[in-house]
């Protein structure tokens, strides 16, 4: 079992919002002056972001603001054209070996789960540890069962993804990513495709994970989640980082007019 989970025993309670316990930690992700274009369209403009070990970042913003594209650049599902992205001291370039190394250390959870429908839940979880990390099958399966317990669905291990509800599938997807024992977890709108009653079960798992000291970057519209677990909230609009602040400041005293109008819209209802 990964020591990431046992490092920190106390989980931050819902009230105790974000002390900067990670201030003295070294950076694990560095994004410097990064730009990306789709054809002529300038999607990401001069992004700069440093993420420390164990830090929890929430990225929010209106749709089309480039937040998903941004985190997909961090494990090179999307290519950036200018600037620099360094993950765990490895710079992302065209070099396939670098990309593979980074992807091994970065887990990702998608909006639409993207589980492999032809494999059982357990096989979904074991696949990458066995084929990429070369973990012996027995060990990989034991690990996977531990993670499935942690996301509270060990009893579904031998079912196929198609037999599970959306919330269960998303929890399997989280377990699958954790099975690689990543140093960083990326969440790309993990609750956006879920029915309202299933959102909580997924958020609970994510909150528990945040408490274990995992470095996390979440693109999400769940502002409650942001208030509870984030160390920093980043607001993006039009491909730029507009504002960046600890959640308390971000929600009570936003500086930029664009942030203010965004917050008004989503907190109004």
């Amino acid at each position: 079992m990964g020591n990431t989970m046992t490092d920190q025993t106390q989980t931050p309670g819902p009230q105790q919002s974000v002390p900067s316990q990670t201030a003295d930690q070294p950076d694990i992700i560095r994004v410097e002056a990064m730009h990306k274009w789709y054809g002529d369209f300038h999607v990401l403009k001069d992004l700069n972001l440093n993420v420390r070990h164990g830090e929890r970042i929430v990225i929010c913003g209106p749709s089309g603001s480039g937040k998903s594209t941004f985190i997909r650049c961090i494990n090179r599902l999307e290519e950036h054209q200018r600037g620099k992205i360094v993950v765990d001291n490895i710079e992302l370039t065209d070099d396939v070996r670098h990309i593979d190394t980074v992807r091994r250390e970065v887990g990702m959870v998608f909006q639409h789960f993207n589980l492999f429908p032809h494999l059982t839940v357990l096989e979904n979880c074991c696949l990458s540890p066995i084929w990429v990390r070369k973990t012996p099958r027995k060990e990989a399966e034991a690990d996977a069962m531990e993670y499935l317990k942690r996301v509270k669905i060990p009893d579904q291990a031998n079912k196929f993804p198609g037999q599970l509800s959306g919330g269960q599938q998303q929890r399997v997807a989280i377990a699958r990513a954790l099975c690689m024992k990543p140093k960083i977890m990326l969440f790309d709108e993990p609750t956006s495709a879920l029915d309202p009653e299933m959102i909580k079960e997924v958020l609970d798992v994510m909150i528990e994970l945040a408490g274990s000291g995992m470095t996390m970057i979440c693109v999400t519209h769940e502002m409650g989640f942001a208030k509870t677990v984030a160390d920093r909230v980043i607001f993006m609009d039009g491909g730029e980082i507009v504002e960046e602040a600890p959640p308390h400041e971000f929600f009570t005293n936003p500086q930029e007019p664009r942030t203010q109008s965004f917050l008004q819209q989503i907190l109004a209802h």
Binding site: N75, L77, V96, D100, R103, R104, V106, G107, M108, F110, H112, N114, L115, F116, P117, H118, L127, S128, W131, V132, F160, P161, G162, Q163, R176, A177, M180
Partner: protein, 361 residues
């Protein structure tokens, strides 16, 4: 208030209710049932008597075909030729052994609980061609050589179809992957290969293989006609197969590729473990369709002088000793083809059911 345990409404059951629902539900359905019933009875009856009741099964020669029905005696008499062609009688055990192995490998595939049937199937796909390669032509292990010009009949049909099928699938997969490759040269080669071979009729391919290919080959390098035909059929077939498989590859959602990438699986692992298993499963009907059509297309080798089962039958029905046996001959050929094609089709349905994991992403 509803009862605590509501049962579904009882549907009327029994043969009478079934007939009322399905055959006589309205006046025009009743009329249709009667008309169709009349046609079936008037056509099946005579067919049945031609095939069985009035047919001649036993006897010594053409003069014993006295009935008004089919003369199966003819098939009986020439069965050896229809199955083995000119393969020498005392060596036919080799072919028989191959038939037996084929049955041993593939009959268990239809029996759900047969222990280790996967291994039988695997041997059928990999080991069997190797065994056949040594056994049928002979020449090794002290076995007498039988030139491929002597092969014929059902045996030749099966060899052509079997090699064509199992060789075209892997080549087709490679071509399909190549056509979707991001490397322009590989993609270009695959596109050209597929488009050229697919645009040519099989007859042309066979003619080229038998007549023109030897002109281009250097002196002393000489394939026999059968090998040339086999190579032609396989390459032609793999172009078709590639397009069927490409259809499956395109149906895989982008999220599957991204999830595999995000987990750090490289190109080959991603393709082999995630993409191909799903894509192939999706296009089983298309693959089987292609197999069946290849199986029947093998009859075209007749035009380059190879005697497959149709060729052997066709060459014997002109025998002056036997009069009017053409229909029997063709019915026999049709029946043989139907047996194999139906078998392939049933197996694929089986496979589809078994592989269905109840998902639609």
């Amino acid at each position: 208030m509803a009862e605590p345990m509501m049962k579904p409404p009882k549907i009327a059951i029994g043969p009478v209710a079934w007939m009322r629902q399905n055959l006589f539900s309205s006046w025009y359905n009743s009329l249709l049932t009667i008309v169709v019933g009349y046609l079936v009875i008037t056509s099946v009856g005579p067919l049945f008597s031609w095939v069985f009741l009035d047919a001649s099964f036993l006897g010594a020669g053409p003069e014993d075909c006295t009935g008004t029905g089919a003369c199966w005696l003819f098939i009986n008499e020439r069965l050896n030729f229809f199955i083995y062609g000119f393969y020498p009688g005392e060596l036919q055990w080799r072919v028989d052994l191959m038939f037996l192995l084929l049955a041993v490998c593939f009959v268990p595939q239809f029996i759900e609980r047969f222990p280790g049937r996967k291994w039988f199937g695997l041997f059928g796909l990999t080991g069997l061609p190797v065994v056949g390669y040594f056994l049928i032509p002979g020449g090794t292990f002290g076995m007498e050589i039988v030139q491929s010009t002597k092969w014929g009949g059902l045996m030749l049909t099966l060899i052509l179809a079997y090699i064509g099928i199992i060789a075209s699938l892997p080549i087709g997969i490679v071509l399909a992957l190549g056509r979707r490759s991001e490397m322009p040269i590989i993609r270009g080669i695959c596109v050209v290969f597929i488009e050229v071979w697919r645009a040519v009729p099989l007859i042309t391919v066979l003619f080229m293989a038998s007549v023109m290919l030897p002109l281009f080959l250097p002196d002393g390098m000489n394939f026999e006609k059968l090998s040339r035909a086999l190579i032609g059929i396989t390459l032609w077939q793999s172009a078709y197969m590639a397009e069927v498989i490409r259809g499956g590859l395109q149906a895989i959602p982008r999220g599957q590729y991204e999830a595999a990438d995000a987990l750090g699986l490289g190109y080959w692992k991603k393709t082999g473990l995630i993409i191909l298993p799903q894509a192939l499963k999706m296009v089983i009907p298309g693959i089987v369709n292609t197999f069946i059509s290849l199986f029947k297309d093998t009859t075209l080798v007749l035009i380059i002088g190879l005697f497959d089962i149709l060729g052997t039958v066709q060459s014997t029905i002109t025998d002056p000793a036997w009069q009017n046996v053409a229909i029997e001959g063709y019915v026999f050929v049709a029946f043989c083809f139907w047996i194999f094609c139906f078998g392939i089709s049933r197996y694929s349905q089986n496979l589809e059911r078994k592989l269905d994991t109840g998902h639609k992403t």
